[in-house]
């Protein structure tokens, strides 16, 4: 019999109590797991968007809460293009509009020449062709949305109350773009009553230009006006919402540790109390204090590990359920990175440690004699 077997056997003495304790932690773990995989999914969405084209970085408006609110004057794209070290810069407008029965459909307004002649946008037309220049009622549909909405070339589609004809199907590799559509820049500006405005600028630098120096120079030239986004780590410059979810996740993690820890502590104190005599026997047959501590901590750690496993399993289930809602699955692809599992396991182990410390200390302080006398 190994020490681990002993720990395991002890845990299953009172199955219901152990199960309830595990469940108490599991609820926290599920929440953490679900929220984390949603933020990771959002981050992935941004990463794909950033990596979709051949742009080296993007420029958005400074000090905004969400990229969708970013508003820059169209002239800025021209100004940026003339900055030294910039090869090309194109402005695009991006927005979310309701379509048919979906409330969230990403539409990007972009100039036809940019789609057809440059690689900066990363748009690949896999069927049909791009909309005509400044066409008022033509649309290039992403391949995921084409499939979801069951639309083909020549079909009609109603977007924010306006009818469009599908001229082509596109692919960029970004869920948001492939699950959305492209229109002519002018058309979308007019629809949004944002003539002369764009959401962001996609920039391709000269081959020999230093990206850090270049982005810094741009930000210095337009302080409090423009921000540059080179990588996913800088996305919080234009998306405070994700920061908020991140903060929430951490707060919940902390709460889960505290609440779960109290639950584990309660269970373990009870269990130590019930086994007072037995602990006395173990000490009498020569077990050192340290081994008693290992036993109790081992038990509470194991509760944590089991909770992590159950939490990850149920968390995956909860996410699957959320994904059944088409409005959500259209723009969110949950991510189960190793990071999330590590976080769930980390929290669960902390809960085990946190909850087991005091009971283990108590158990180790029991005098063998008093414990043996205990009825």
């Amino acid at each position: 019999m190994s020490f681990l077997t002993l720990i395991f056997k002890n845990l299953f003495r009172n199955k219901i109590r152990t199960l309830l304790t595990i469940l108490g932690i599991t609820i926290g773990i599920i929440t953490i797991f679900t929220l984390s995989s949603i933020t990771e999914g959002l981050k992935k969405g941004y990463t794909e968007l950033l990596k979709a084209g051949k742009a080296d970085f993007m420029i958005g408006q400074a000090g905004i809460a969400d990229l969708m609110f970013s508003t820059i004057s169209e002239d800025k794209a021209e100004e940026i293009r003339n900055i030294e070290g910039v090869d090309n810069a194109v402005g695009v407008i991006m927005t979310a509009v309701p379509i048919e029965n979906m409330p969230f459909f990403v539409v990007m307004g972009i100039e036809k020449e940019v789609v057809d002649e440059t690689e900066i946008s990363g748009i690949e037309i896999i069927e049909g062709q791009s909309f005509a220049k400044e066409a008022e009622n033509e649309i290039l549909l992403g391949k995921i949305s084409a499939k979801n909405l069951d639309k083909h070339i020549g079909d009609k589609i109603t977007l924010a109350g306006k009818e469009f004809k599908v001229t082509g199907i596109s692919e960029t590799g970004s869920v948001w773009q492939d699950g959305g559509a492209f229109l002519s820049l002018k058309t979308l500006q007019a629809m949004q009553k944002k003539e002369g405005k764009i959401t962001m600028i996609m920039v391709k630098k000269d081959v020999d230009a230093d990206i850090h120096e270049l982005t810094q120079r741009i930000e210095d030239t337009y302080p409090d006006e423009l921000v540059t986004i080179k990588s996913i780590d800088e996305i919080s410059k234009v998306d405070k919402g994700m920061q908020a979810i991140d903060a929430t996740t951490w707060t919940i993690s902390l709460l889960a540790i505290v609440i779960g820890g109290i639950g584990v502590a309660n269970t373990m104190i009870m269990s130590v109390y019930e086994r007072t005599r037995e602990i006395g026997v173990l000490r009498a047959v020569g077990w050192k204090r340290r081994r008693i501590i290992s036993l109790i901590l081992g038990e509470s750690f194991f509760i944590g590990i089991l909770a992590a496993a159950v939490g990850a399993l149920l968390g995956t289930g909860v996410i699957k359920l959320i994904m059944l809602v088409p409005q959500v699955s259209a723009f969110l692809e949950p991510s189960y990175s190793i990071n999330i599992f590590t976080r769930a396991l980390g929290v669960a182990l902390l809960v085990g440690l946190f909850g087991g410390l005091y009971p283990a200390y108590r158990a180790s302080r029991l005098s063998p004699l008093e414990a043996l006398r205990y009825e």
Partner: protein, 219 residues
Amino acid sequence: MNNIIEAKNLVKTYEQGRVRALDDLNLEVRRGEFVAIQGPSGSGKSTLLHMIGALDRPTSGEIFVCGMDLTKVKNLDEFRSKKIGFVFQLHNLIPTLTALENVLIPMFELKLKKKEKINKAKELLKLIGLEKRLNYIPPKLSGGERERVAIARSLANDPEIILADEPTGNVDSKTGEKIICLLRDVNKKKGTTLVVVTHDSVIAEHAPRVLKLVDGKIV
């Protein structure tokens, strides 16, 4: 030193000195001896065993066990784990573990291979005649069988001394005699020093030397 246990003017008081459980007690036990300690309830028999087994420290006096001054030994856990085997009045087995696993419990502190430990535990259970009950948990064993498992457990760490506190307290007289004979066999075969506390004269008669304890003194 031929004496494996030597106590001089041993005093143990409780309740700030109001209870004198051991009162100037002197005791010498030779290596390999089998001693029974008899005495009325409350005379200090258990207290004396706890002093010898290093479960507690005396209030004053000297106590040497296996050549060690127990008033000075720092790590009593280690001392117990190496030198002492306990058999308690209530068998005190772990109810969820099998007979075999219960015997393995003291071996956690030993540096033996897993296989060796298991073989040894099996051997001990065979010695006490329970080789057919290896995988029984205590609730499925009779009172006498449990007490025998407790004896096997007390032998698990190859102790120099076995201290048994009323090992026959909870079984009928016939089973009680079987148990005491078993302990006597262990004493003979292995040469383990044996100190058995009992208030039963029939049981005590099996021991070559019987000590009487009254009011914390040997008389």
